[in-house]
């Protein structure tokens, strides 16, 4: 039996927003981009994290009293979570084997079939754990389940080759095509991302859905969206989803003691006008 494990921060059953139909979405922990607007900051590092929701906490101190751990770094025993009267603490991330994840996915097979749905692997960047991903995708395909992979694409092409035979759909994120802008917003170049997308489009059979986060003051300037549209002219894709920037992840930053970058609010009309470009 396969013993590889992945750290996953959420298994969301009954999702309607991560591909077609009813889906189960598996959120892998760990990412190699650092998008300044990231709405899932708990997905960035690979290891488990203790989240402490500041607005729920009354400072009663019961968590510190119960904590047996003197070394200062949390061992994730979970005692403080039980003790906290205000639901202000949560452990983010849990290790799963391929079999354990599959057992969760297979549970809703009847609903996938009834709705044209399936499973979506997301994150973080699920493709950074390519061996695990290959195994779980293979199992899902053997069970006749539709598979989707939500990726930012910043991984070696070999990782794509590994999973291509078992992936029906890619949800592929494009943040910017101008390299400098991309580096400024995500701290990595987009060279690999764009060339992987081109390869996927030319050589792969999987359906491609392009997802573009619309971030005010990042890609809403200097005709960046139009540049993306131009680039996509040469790409085979099924449809494009424009994801409007939102700030609902702010409290997660506070819970992790991370700095939150406050972008301006999005002008609602802008999404409609961008839709016309594609």
């Amino acid at each position: 039996m396969n013993k590889i494990k992945a750290t996953i921060f959420e298994i969301q059953r009954n999702s309607y927003v991560d591909g077609p139909g009813i889906r189960t979405t598996i959120f892998f922990k760990g990412c190699n981009l650092k998008c300044k607007w990231c709405h899932n900051p708990e997905s960035q590092v690979f290891s488990r994290q203790m989240m402490h929701y500041k607005t729920k906490c009354t400072g009663c101190g019961q968590c510190r009293q119960i904590c047996q751990n003197t070394s200062g770094s949390c061992v994730f025993c979970g005692q403080c979570i039980i003790q906290c009267p205000n639901e202000a603490r949560q452990i983010c991330g849990k290790e799963y084997t391929v079999q354990e994840v599959f057992e969760q996915i297979i549970k809703d097979k009847i609903f996938y079939e009834a709705s044209g749905g399936g499973v979506t692997f997301s994150g973080g960047e699920c493709m950074l754990q390519a061996d695990f991903l290959e195994e779980i995708l293979k199992m899902c395909k053997e069970a006749g389940i539709h598979t989707a992979v939500d990726t930012a694409g910043n991984v070696p092409w070999e990782s794509f080759e590994k999973i291509l035979p078992y992936t029906d759909m890619f949800l592929y994120d494009i943040k910017a095509v101008s390299e400098n802008l991309h580096i400024e917003g995500t701290s990595v170049s987009n060279k690999t991302i764009l060339s992987n997308l081109k390869q996927l489009s030319d050589n792969g059979k999987a359906e491609i859905v392009i997802r573009i986060p619309i971030i005010p003051d990042f890609n809403t300037h200097t005709g960046e969206i139009r540049k993306i549209a131009d680039f996509l002219q040469g790409i085979r894709y099924k449809n494009i989803e424009l994801l409007p920037y939102h700030k609902m992840g702010q409290y997660k930053y506070e819970a992790l003691n991370m700095h939150f970058n406050n972008y301006p609010d999005l002008d609602k009309g802008i999404i409609e006008s961008y839709k016309k470009i594609f």
Binding site: G21, F111, A114
Partner: protein, 276 residues
């Protein structure tokens, strides 16, 4: 049954039902072709969760003796907050598609309909089982005692055959699967299930396809009575005040999710604004 008939002949019903006058028999004496009395049970998911919590905490994990446990419940969990939360949050309750707990629901439902059947065969009246509370769970709340799965005295517990508020964490598909594990054909007069959605999590094109899929799956699994609604403003406001009862509400945007109860007040307010 005889005294029941004599004391309560159902005169008005007998007057208006077909064939009671012709036959000279009251409704309860078998005056109509079809006579039905249908006892309905309420609070079944609470009973299931209670039995399951006792099974786990007392007999399997042995974290407390049965006698101590009962004493704690009589005292409404007083000074036992840690234990209460441990039992409430560490076990998986009805509505999460977990066979171990759902089996208890199947057993109670089967036993209940079998009991009704013994009367059904003895009288001219069909005596058939069903499950419902239809809002009466609110009326019943003040006389509720503390439950073994961590709820305190007087709390509103489950409505119809829907999970106890706050104990389902896996969404509608899992609730439907838990519900459909029983042979629902035996509940002749219905066993209602309620499914609620946060409006902002279903305002996308795919949600219609998905909800149609939920209904289809429900029927394929043998379900026969489901009410689908959106969670209204009042409920969301209630969830802000009493998060412990609303652990299940989740808010989704592409690639992003959060449980409503963990969000800061500001963002909760925004979601509430968008509800009807």
């Amino acid at each position: 049954m005889i005294t029941f008939k004599a004391n309560n002949p159902c005169t008005a019903v007998s007057l208006f039902e077909q064939s009671c006058i012709e036959k000279g028999l009251s409704y309860k004496e078998g005056g109509t072709v079809y006579n039905v009395i249908s006892p309905h049970i309420g609070g079944l998911p609470d009973a299931v969760n209670s039995l399951y919590a006792i099974k786990k905490a007392v007999f399997e994990d042995k974290i407390i003796s049965f006698t101590d446990f009962m004493r704690i419940l009589k005292n409404n969990w007083e000074n036992e907050e840690a234990l209460r939360k441990r039992i409430l949050s560490n076990y998986t309750y009805f509505g999460n598609d977990c066979d171990e707990v759902d089996e208890i629901a199947v057993k109670i439902l089967n036993d209940f309909s079998d009991m009704c059947k013994t009367y059904d065969e003895k009288t001219p009246i069909r005596f058939v089982s069903g499950v419902s509370t239809f809002g009466r769970q609110i009326e019943w709340a003040p006389s509720r005692i503390a439950t073994p799965f961590g709820r305190k005295q007087g709390e509103i517990l489950s409505g119809n055959l829907s999970p106890t508020p706050g104990t389902d964490h896996n969404g509608a598909a899992a609730i439907i699967k838990s519900y459909c594990k029983a042979d629902l054909k035996k509940q002749y007069t219905g066993a209602a299930l309620d499914i609620g959605f946060v409006p902002s999590s279903i305002d996308n094109d795919n949600a219609i396809t998905a909800i149609a899929g939920l209904i289809k799956g429900f029927v394929l699994l043998g379900g026969h009575f489901m009410q689908i609604d959106t969670v209204d403003k009042a409920t969301l406001t209630e969830a802000q005040k009493h998060p412990e009862n609303y652990q299940n509400l989740s808010v989704r945007v592409s690639g992003w999710n959060a449980r409503f109860v963990t969000m800061s007040k500001e963002w909760q307010d925004m979601i509430i604004e968008r509800a009807k």
